[in-house]
Symmetry: C2
Subunit: 358 residues, 2 copies
């Protein structure tokens, strides 16, 4: 893994940066530092009608908790899926759009209860492709036990969209005894990873012929709400924080938790499971596996007293059979993520290394 | 209005039609007959995992009622907005995306309670445009008294999307005493229209320089949940059905209600308010105003005994000050919409006359 760049511990890039400052860049949607800046400095002030940049008041979670829903807290989340190509080993844009939105609900310690699906189609798209994607949406929803209850279809002129985009929105209700949140991680927590990282991002890159490493890797896209339910039953409120390392990869997930919980996260590099083909693909492409999207694993921050229980419960599931502890949480320095073996600071990626993997 | 084509009372086009049958066409997203066929014959079977075409089991509403939510019925709906150009007289894609989704909730006799906003941005989009659209989203949501509680931003490569698309999703709760649905219209009902039709569609077409009739028309985009609340207070359960004539215009709205309620709708052509500039634009473009999208009016089917009450209440609001009765409902022939003055059958449009007006 000598290909990895060691990120210096410099202040994050200020917005707007000097060059290209007035245009949307791919990195603005990549889930890393640029995304956070766009949100903090443009979108949130604009949506709230305030002027000028400012920091968000509360951590951003994978889903919003609707106020006034009492004990049966209602969760609400939306995501657009623009992956290219539409089909890749292990999945397609349809199953990914269902799994991804279910997992956003699951990371809040909740079970998904209903899905909405909005399709934007390019004029001239073969109906067989639409049929295949729609069947995949239906299959993924049924497998997960969640109904698609409403939807929308728009068709735009040829060239106005790249074939087919999907926006999924999900509702969910909090599982009894769970209350995970980005700010709930505490010093002393164990960091658990449910499975190997990097499979989804490298599978999609491999499916683009340009990279030439073929399709030896299959995406790990799958719903994780069953795993979360088992973890909640084993650990309850001791499960402090859950995050699926999609856009921006594990580096982004860990940095967001470290920042929002104001803790230091120490990860043992050697403990992170990286499948050999994923490592090889990253080597070939010069990518940092910590920044590659996964679509079927989660990272959990669990009180040390319950970590063994929760880990054992995870390993008893199919989704979590390869679960491992990868590190621990300390109180200093807050907001810092460190790889202990390599003793390097893992920074929030400024932008994604390769776009449109979800 | 001699420009209008008289639709013959022929059976609707069968899917797949002989030509271009294997490709998505613009009309598949236009809200008319082709949209219905795509939904019935491809999307619903594919999503449900069944094979072959089949008719839907229940009428499609503007929003889904979530099961198990008891008296405080919870409504859920999603829509993508792809309007071109992004800015037009009277509004922009941001305000339209908020108003449109609020109105889908309102047509169910409900008040909107929360919004989700998903943005798909093209790399290279000026941030000033994004800022302007985001401010418009925020303004429209605040004016309507509904919070944007969650969101998502994706950026795709230049050329993979036409600048900026928005998918909004809304939650709502049913207003006390209201229970509107597409199938609830009954023979004897009065048909009320809250205001003039065609302003939105012609405003957007006018904003495209290609048509050369400039921008003399402003879109009527606005939220209608306040009007619906007033109508519910005046008429309660006597307000049987509400529909906003967006994609596919009034012709589609009336046909859907006639079909889903198995009633005949008789409309007096002279009673339908069409602003003079809208009529002139339709003449110039050869479009049928009955098929042009509106964004700020609704058509209501109200029990005759309460129609005067409801109409008076509508007229006391700003959104409904120009409300008029335009027709009545009979029992025969079911599924038929007739313009009485011209004695012509108003058919469901097969496809929209001009795309991307919402």
């Amino acid at each position: 893994m000598q290909h990895r760049t060691v990120h210096a511990d410099v202040p994050s890039v200020q917005f707007p940066p000097p060059a290209k400052s007035n245009l949307v860049r791919l990195g603005h949607g990549a889930g890393g530092g640029l995304s956070a800046e766009l949100l903090d400095d443009l979108l949130l002030p604009a949506l709230s009608g305030t002027s000028g940049p400012g920091r968000r008041a509360v951590p951003m979670e994978d889903a919003a908790v609707l106020p006034g829903t009492g004990d049966a807290e209602l969760l609400f989340t939306t995501d657009s899926f623009v992956v290219s190509p539409l089909f890749f080993p292990g999945g397609d844009i349809g199953s990914l759009a269902v799994h991804g939105i279910i997992n956003d609900i699951a990371m809040m310690g909740a079970r998904p209860t209903a899905l909405a699906v909005a399709l934007i189609l390019e004029e001239g798209l073969p109906l067989t492709i639409l049929d295949q994607v729609a069947r995949s949406i239906g299959w993924a929803a049924r497998e997960a036990g969640v109904a698609v209850v409403t939807g929308d279809t728009q068709v735009v002129n040829q060239g106005a969209v790249d074939r087919l985009f999907i926006t999924t929105t999900a509702l969910g209700t909090r599982l009894p005894g769970m209350h995970t949140a980005a700010a709930h991680t505490q010093p002393g927590d164990a960091v658990l990873l449910s499975g190997p990282i990097g499979l989804h991002g490298t599978a999609v890159l491999g499916a683009r012929k340009e990279h030439g490493f073929g399709s030896r890797i299959a995406s790990d896209t799958r719903p994780l709400h069953g795993l979360v339910r088992v973890m909640g039953a084993a650990g309850g409120t001791a499960v402090h924080t859950l995050r699926d390392p999609t856009r921006g990869g594990l580096a982004t997930a860990l940095n967001e938790i470290a920042r929002d919980s104001a803790v230091s996260v120490e990860v043992q590099e050697a403990a992170i499971p990286v499948p050999e083909p994923v490592a090889a693909a990253c080597d070939q492409l010069g990518l940092d596996v910590l920044e590659i999207a996964s679509a079927g694993c989660l990272v959990a921050f669990v009180a040390a007293s319950q970590a063994e229980n929760v880990l054992a419960a995870m390993r008893a599931t199919r989704e979590g059979e390869a679960a491992v502890p990868i590190g621990r949480v300390t109180d200093w320095p807050p907001g810092r993520v460190t790889l202990t073996a390599a003793s390097r600071v893992v920074d929030m990626p400024a932008a994604e290394q390769s776009p449109r993997i979800c």
